[in-house]
């Protein structure tokens, strides 16, 4: 499968099968041997037309608790920058948080395309004239450190990357933002609240 086909047939499907990236790398007979092929966004900055970024944290909780927080904790949602979150009671639709929305020059409708209980949720944007985005949240056991939670997102310029930001700047902002979002979720789940140095609730 070449890159153009791969993009056409749906990035979400590839992202959904964690093996996708691995296969892609294993096909290259002389590629660097690497135990983290395509897992870290840093290794794959670009897939065809897409920019791919991601972030990982470990959270001391069960996979169910983690999904439950992302899906149901309304204190989390307003704090998110880039990680899409479930929209009200519409099970398979996700909302882009403000920063992600601002990064795209056209609207986004995001739908969950794959769900593997306690393991994986993958989504993609849909519809003509919508900004093109794919992503996944994957959970895996990390021993005494808890559950490793990884988010990977692939977005396609030009609808992502405004005139003000270069593509590279956008990818960097996205990667950093996703990491912040995962860390907020980790704080909320482990510590019950999101850390702040504010001295008053009304402080800037």
């Amino acid at each position: 499968m070449n890159l153009a086909n791969w993009a056409r047939y749906g990035l979400a499907a590839t992202l959904a099968t964690a093996a996708g990236g691995v296969l892609f790398y294993k096909r290259q007979p002389h590629a660097n041997r690497d135990a983290a092929p395509a897992r870290s966004a840093r290794h794959v900055r670009r897939f065809g037309d897409y920019r791919v970024t991601g972030a990982t944290v470990s959270i001391r909780a069960t996979a169910d608790q983690i999904i439950d927080c992302w899906q149901n904790d309304a204190t989390l949602w307003p704090q998110l920058e880039y990680l899409p979150f479930p929209e009200g009671n519409q099970d398979d639709l996700l909302l882009p948080p403000a920063e992600l929305r601002a990064m795209a020059s056209v609207p986004m409708r995001i739908r969950i395309v794959t769900r593997r209980e306690g393991e994986l949720i993958a989504w993609r944007s849909e519809g003509e004239g919508q900004a093109d985005m794919h992503g996944r949240l994957r959970l895996s056991d990390n021993g005494s450190k808890g559950i490793a939670v990884e988010v990977i997102m692939a977005v396609r310029p030009p609808h992502f990357a405004s005139a003000l930001k270069t593509e590279a700047m956008m990818a960097e902002a996205l990667e950093l933002g996703l990491l912040r979002d995962l860390r907020r979720m980790k704080m909320l789940i482990e510590a019950g609240e999101i850390a702040t140095a504010k001295m008053r609730p009304d402080a800037a």
């Binding site: 950093l176 980790k186 999101i194 850390a195």
Partner: protein, 389 residues
């Protein structure tokens, strides 16, 4: 409220700041009854730790009374508490192993990136200690917001005065952990560089942990005298070649463990230290690692190196070969304060130790600027400054 604020390198000013309020469910607000100036504060004062901003409230050694509590706090109003300077959540992987100063969750996410770039991973939060550690307002103030108040503060009995309890917030556990990190075997000879508050508590802790001898190194006679009064053998680095002296004093073997309780602002006119000082002054992220170099050289083969002294940047001429070839072990870190406070409070209650001997000066908070200046410039007399808001 009034608070000691950073206004630029070498300038501390007590200003009116907004009173803190409960922000998160686990918060408490305390009214500060005593607060101290630490050697670590001098690194901020001297501008050698980055990430301090104008109007930041300093101070990480403080205690007080509970004034207000959030929904999930377990404290009650009026309780007396000592607050550890390393802020921790109590639930992450690091906290589960009592490495509180490595807590994953206590530094606000927006503040994590600078430290992550500098050190590979973000740091835990600390009170009043730059934005690298969260930008939390510190305790040299009338009131402080305390996060995670169900796990962080140590509730203390009403009948022990502040003077004997205050140092549980930092330097007493820091000295204790410095000695633990030296893995002292009964009868060992331990060399401690620096007879500031941290060094003095390290000496006291080393004896508690069954050291046979402690050799104390400093250049300030008043501080060396205090070390001697704790039972240490004083050596003045202005008058003596340290390496030679330590060899002689240990029958040619060297100390079993060496402890650097000086950190990144070592004094001395050696060539390495002068070069470091120039680089530190022009902002090259250079630490003055003169003491650490000397300690590593002086340590016996197969010995231990413990570093409570604070470093924040990089060190040239680090004697890596000496570390490796002699098979030394190095342990360091910001103190996991709360891990040791129950045990130390118990020792204070039983009169095994009385940390208040350290206090040389008491000032009202309004005189904070004077306290900082003298604590840095007149170390012979100004051993430890305690302020009352």
């Amino acid at each position: 409220m009034r608070a000691a604020t950073f206004q630029g390198k070498g300038t501390i000013d007590v200003r009116h700041m907004p009173d803190p309020k409960i922000v998160n469910p686990r918060d408490a607000i305390i009214e500060v009854t005593s607060t101290a100036i630490c050697g670590s504060d001098l690194h901020l004062y001297d501008g050698v730790i980055p990430g301090v901003e104008k109007d930041d409230i300093l101070g990480h050694e403080f205690m007080g009374r509970v004034l207000d509590v959030g929904r999930d706090s377990t404290l009650t109003i009026g309780q007396r508490v000592v607050v550890p300077f390393t802020i921790f959540c109590g639930h992450c992987f690091q906290c589960s192993e009592q490495r509180y100063s490595a807590c994953d969750n206590s530094c606000p996410v927006e503040e994590q990136e600078v430290a992550e770039k500098a050190f590979g991973y973000p740091l835990a939060g600390m009170f009043g200690y730059s934005h690298l550690t969260g930008g939390y307002a510190g305790g040299q103030a009338e009131y402080v917001r305390i996060p995670y108040s169900d796990v962080l503060p140590l509730v203390v009995p009403d009948d022990i005065p502040d003077d004997r309890l205050l140092f549980l917030s930092d330097i007493l556990p820091t000295g204790w952990m410095a000695a633990l990190n030296a893995e002292i075997e009964p009868g060992d000879t331990i060399a401690v560089w620096g007879c500031g508050p941290v060094g003095l508590f390290t000496i006291l802790s080393a004896f508690q942990q069954k050291a046979g001898r402690v050799i104390a190194i400093d250049g300030v006679p008043g501080r060396l005298a205090m070390a001697e009064s704790l039972g240490a053998e004083p050596v003045n680095f202005h008058e003596t070649d340290i390496l030679d002296a330590l060899k002689q004093m240990t029958g040619g073997v060297g100390p079993d463990a060496v402890i650097d309780a000086v950190g990144m602002e070592a004094h001395g006119f050696s060539i390495d230290n002068i070069a470091d000082k120039i680089k530190q002054t022009v902002g090259m992220g250079q630490d003055r690692a003169h003491v650490l170099r000397q300690a590593i050289m002086a340590c016996r083969k197969g010995g231990r190196v413990s570093v409570p002294g604070v470093y924040g940047g990089k060190a040239d001429l680090f004697p890596l070969g000496a570390m490796m070839q002699k098979g030394l072990q190095l342990r360091t870190g910001q103190t996991h304060v709360r891990r040791y406070t129950d045990e130390l409070l118990d020792m204070i209650e039983r009169d095994v130790i009385d940390p208040s001997f350290l206090i040389s000066h008491r000032l009202p908070l309004d005189d904070a600027a004077k306290g900082y200046r003298n604590f840095r410039d007149h170390q012979d007399e100004w051993i430890k400054v305690v302020m009352q808001p």
